[in-house]
Amino acid sequence: MGNRKYTSEALSPWMKEDAPDRDVVLSSRVRIARNLRHLPFPMMASAAQSVEAMERLLQVGESGRLSGLGEVSSVRLSELSELEKQVLVEKHLISPALANHAQHGALMLGPGEDISLMVNEEDHLRIQCLHAGFQLKETWDTASKIDDIFEEAVDYAFDEKYGFLTSCPTNVGTGIRASVMMHLPALVMTGQINRILSAVTQVGLAVRGVYGEGSEATGNLFQVSNQITLGQSESEIIDHLHAVARQIIEHEKAARAKLMSESRLKVEDRVKRSFGILSYAAVIDAKEASQRLSDLRLGAHLGLLPEVDEGTLNELLVSIQPGFLQQAYGEALSPEQRDMTRAQMISSRLATHA
């Protein structure tokens, strides 16, 4: 794949697009799980069977069927260093499971990094599409088209009753997991977040941190996704998530408006203090950095911080992660060095854009 832009640049091209509701929703994501009919799922596959699944799926990419998506690069995970894999995880282009556990794993990546096709993860094929902002339906449409292309070329494991068969029973049926990544600082500040998130889980949706299952919510970022994959059609699943996410967005916007009308000075002080700390700190850990960056993001959207633009914040979100820091500085860093490097990276980025 020649120059590996996808591991050297923090900001994926798709993140740069203009998009609806960007002040609250960072991204919309849909992933579809599919398996080949005649081969055991990756967990039970022999090495030869894993290679066969990989070759068959990569061939679809190489056959030109995906040419409508632009130039798709494919790479076998074995060609990547541990650090490169970690960077891909931090950019949400592959899952931790693919990076750490896959046997003969591979990746096909669209030129905008908005499409990533994982091979031999928990299932043979995981189609993942990402769009900036709140664009669930568009994201599903893209993913579904790619699904159709693969279906023309390979035999999927499908059952009349259970639908698309997946390794984990929690994905069977449609095999889709749709999610929206939301920035909800005002709901957190006003103490409404717990009430809202518990309501969300009562209507069949799940809430997670930024890096998926088991990850903690840092920087006021929450990922809301569907849990049920069987017994509802894809459009029902998408519509339901869309409707619930829409309500959360409106609550967040209302909470921001309230903060501005009732405690503007306090919010402004908080935002600017965080800007000061991020601009001048000599050492900062990832957790504090995400929290302060959340303040900056809120400030930028409330018009309190004209010196910071959203693109810089989105880029920093990825570039302060351990793998990316390490890569940017070209050597292994101890945790202390990492916190120092992180502080330098942030202050220099904020200074160039001020």
Partner: protein
């Protein structure tokens, strides 16, 4: 929402509210419809109760939860022998046993779904509240299923057109249904 507190309550160890034996290592406050409910339990009881505790339940994943569900014996009648027999049931496709499946919480291949079919519906129903797929059907592998579903959908649509007295659209739909039915008959 569950809030997690520190493990020591005023320096005094608390006994698990559930079993009354092991020390309570998990303390949480639940708010149910605005009502505050405090809970002090040990990890074993927490698992049993299915309390999902974000961040604290080391290694406790969706697969552990699933495997807990799979050991579930709906009739409660199966003896140890029947249970052992069920555990030994082996998928002809990939060689996975039902015992392995219930431990790992994952299927080994597409055929496992058929081989373990007798025991599957209760599990799938617990996870999804449903046992029948209604979404997308693959064009090729789906074959006849796809046509039959399309016909069902068109029939429903035709009925609603008739009820709305839009007979012209209903007639178009009827013709399309006939066409598809011929396709089904010809295989």
């Amino acid at each position: 929402m569950t809030a997690i507190h520190s493990c020591l309550r005023g320096g005094i160890k608390v006994v698990c509210q559930e079993c009354g034996q092991r020390p309570a290592t998990l303390h949480f406050t639940k708010y149910i419809n605005g009502e505050k409910l405090e809970l002090h339990i040990c990890e074993a009881c927490a698992r049993e109760k299915g309390e999902l505790i974000p961040g604290t339940s080391a290694g406790f994943s969706i697969h552990n939860l699933l495997s807990g569900l799979m050991d579930f014996d709906p009739s409660g009648l199966a003896g140890a022998k029947a249970k052992a027999q069920a555990q030994a049931l082996r998928c002809e496709g990939c060689g996975m046993t039902y015992g392995q499946f219930s431990k790992l919480g994952r299927f080994g291949c597409a055929r496992c779904y058929k081989q373990f079919a007798d025991r599957l519906d209760p599990l799938i129903k617990r996870v999804h509240g449903n046992t029948v797929h209604v979404g997308k059907v693959p064009k090729r592998a789906g074959g006849l299923v796809r046509l039959r579903r399309e016909i069902d959908g068109l029939k429903r649509e035709m009925q609603s057109k008739i009820e709305g007295e839009d007979f012209e659209s209903a007639a178009t739909l009827r013709d399309r249904i006939r066409e598809l039915e011929r396709e089904v008959q010809n295989g």
